[in-house]
Symmetry: C2
Subunit: 421 residues, 2 copies
């Protein structure tokens, strides 16, 4: 008790608008360099090359129904059957005027044939088939190159590889693709009061929930969490060691805690020592102490320690930043206008993200608050599917007023099949 | 060539409406029985029990800023400092009228204190602190039970465990939860013309893309794909062996191919032999031969072999069915009204799902077709984020008309931060 410890009285960092803060984040980052990946591991990633079809698809004209392969311009309705073509092989068969080949779905068309007459529209007797209809040219035939022609650009650079795109690459026999990789993320909680969530609590301690919360959030967004460490104590040396190790093992680091202005808020000074702090304060609630720095060319996101603050900052800055690094074009959650089901308190000094449950009905979206919006109250996020945006400079929002909202999950609906037929 | 092989002339199965088909699927299924899972593996799953808080959270009253712990009703503005309380321990300190304890963010409040005055609003000199403000009761203190009280139901049965819910369980020290498990899915393609996607094509053969497409689709929806086998030949014995093995290894089986009315369409008869076929035809395009059967109490989804047909049936029937088995309440993709950017051809004999790219603008959603809607054209699904619903009984849909659409991915937007402040 001989030295007088004091907290710094004010922040060195300017208070940024959300927009200015995002501009600083997005200007500092770019998509991760492309890597060549096996197709099986490429689902959800962004293509970093144009894909050109090497072959036409389908590679041969094929029957799309069981029936008889014929020449459509041949006017005879009775034809001798000269053979049978199953799927999966190519027999040396041909069709000439007056003849037909029995053919199965998926089988290659015999030479000369240009149409298939389905069994249902024929009668067969003693090696002769009687057509009940005159076939159209190309009838019941999937032509060569229906899906794509050799040499065509079938998937452009920048496309996200979903089920259809992966299937198309498999069909083309393209099993390695250049893609932007998933960012690898390290996550570390800081704070002397924290213990790993599975340890026994002693008086004055609380369990670290942020590492797991942020890991689950990052994984749900498709990023790869390489390490979510035990909580790090508020000690400059230990923090620096942990941070440097995290940087070595990942493309981005997320910390939580230690970014306010208290005596033991050591994250900002450490980031300033090791790199460049681009954001130190943002005019948002929760999340005012949000910190962003670049170290060794990699982003470090310093999130506040309160669970709600850290998750809101994750949504507002980390998720879009990591999507940018993934090469994605759509960085933001869907943003919709909602009607308030109740009065919301809001201080006009900061933009506030209030947690809510949004329901869809015939007239649009209605938002129900999740209750007390204290940033220490993790329960305010339980079941929430939206973050309501109450802008800086506006006050309380009355019931019935319309505000913008980010949908962080699917809106609730009166669940029934939307098709009545 | 001595026997005359003929396809069956018509189907034994009635043509069902989409609604009737879904009723048959949903009536046959129920959520998988709950299992006890470690928290780390429970993200995305549905809670099968109410979670009651064993302890209050936070478990102790704590400072939410660095400052001095005081008694708010004590009128003296000068107080002797009797100690210092850091976070993470609980010292044997108490505050009485005329005294204060220096305290750090997150630290437990000393006995007697009910408010914290931040450093910024004080001056300290020679062991005495001078308050510049009179604190409010509870000021800068997170009270016991702010987030939840012991005995309270904090997460109800049926809730999906997202980041916040997982974090809350971790904070409570609840590391095992009863949840509905992810359905385990086996996927098998059938067809003599198919070869495993990494084999060399011989004339008449095509690569099996459906196994991979459906695996990626199922995994993206959070289901667990236990087996995606090599393509199975159109041979009753081989099909039966593969199907029985798939049933033994999973909660649901998806087949593709072999459900039309051709000579080698063996899946329906096999399912009828081994179990009960509840759906054999549906009035939809693509996907008319969609087949659904229950075998050994497990669902088998018989999808058509054309890649687009199989993926549309997956979206329309398999995904909602597997979500039902997961215990989820929201089974359907978001369904919105869109404006057509071009004329669409549509035959009124069936409900058609046309693939489209939907863009969001200020007036709502606009849908752009992906081109030729042939069910053999996988490219019609490339980049698509919506399935337009063109109902049975209606004809061509002109540009500008409004139709319903399932959003299978996020609508495209003119991408910019939706917050201007």
């Amino acid at each position: 008790m001989t030295t007088v410890k004091r907290a710094k009285r004010s922040s060195d960092y300017p208070m940024l608008s959300i927009r200015e803060a995002w501009l600083r984040v997005s200007s500092a980052l770019e998509p991760l360099p492309p890597v060549r990946k096996p197709l099986v591991g490429a689902a959800g990633l962004v293509l970093a090359e144009d894909i050109i079809a090497k072959d036409s698809m389908p590679p041969f004209a094929a029957a799309s129904m069981d029936g008889y392969a014929v020449i459509s311009s041949d006017p005879s309705l009775e034809k001798s059957i000269t053979g049978e073509q199953d799927a999966g092989v190519k027999l040396d068969l041909s069709v000439e005027p007056g003849t037909a080949v029995r053919i199965m779905t998926g089988a290659p068309l015999p030479t000369g044939a240009d149409a298939v007459v389905p069994f249902e529209e024929t009668g067969e007797n003693e090696g002769v088939v009687h057509l009940k209809v005159i076939p159209k040219p190309g009838g019941n035939v999937r032509p060569v190159g229906l899906d794509m022609a050799a040499g065509e650009t079938v998937l452009p650079k920048g496309l996200v590889l979903g089920p259809a795109e992966i299937g198309l690459l498999a069909a083309l026999g393209q099993f390695q693709v250049w893609v932007h990789p998933r960012p690898r993320i390290s996550i570390m909680s800081t704070g002397n009061e924290l213990v790993a969530a599975d340890e026994t609590l002693r008086p004055g301690q609380i369990r670290d929930s942020n590492s797991l919360t942020l890991s689950v959030a990052a994984a749900a967004c498709g990023f790869e969490v390489t390490a979510a460490s035990c909580p790090v104590r508020d000690d400059s040396g230990k923090l620096e060691l942990a941070l440097v190790e995290a940087l070595n093992n990942s493309d981005a680091v997320i910390t939580s805690g230690g970014v306010s202005m208290g005596k033991l808020d050591l994250v900002k000074p450490l980031l300033a020592k090791l790199g460049e702090v681009l954001i130190g304060r943002v005019a948002m609630k929760p999340g005012r102490p949000f910190t962003f720095a670049m170290l060794q060319g990699k982003p470090v996101f310093g999130l506040p320690g309160f669970p709600v603050s850290s998750l809101v900052c994750f949504e507002q800055f980390v998720r879009p930043a990591l999507r940018l690094m993934s090469g994605l074009n759509l960085l933001w959650r869907p943003c919709v206008e909602v009607s308030l089901a109740e009065n919301l308190r809001h201080d006009p000094d900061r933009t506030e993200f209030q947690r809510a449950v949004v329901k869809a009905d015939h007239d649009g979206f209605i938002a129900y608050s999740t209750g007390s919006q204290s940033s220490g109250r993790l329960k305010s996020l339980v079941g929430a599917n939206a973050l309501l945006i109450l802008p800086i400079g506006t006050g309380d929002a009355p019931v019935g007023s319309r505000v913008k909202a980010f949908l962080i999950d699917q809106p609730e609906t009166e669940e029934e099949l939307p098709i009545s037929h």
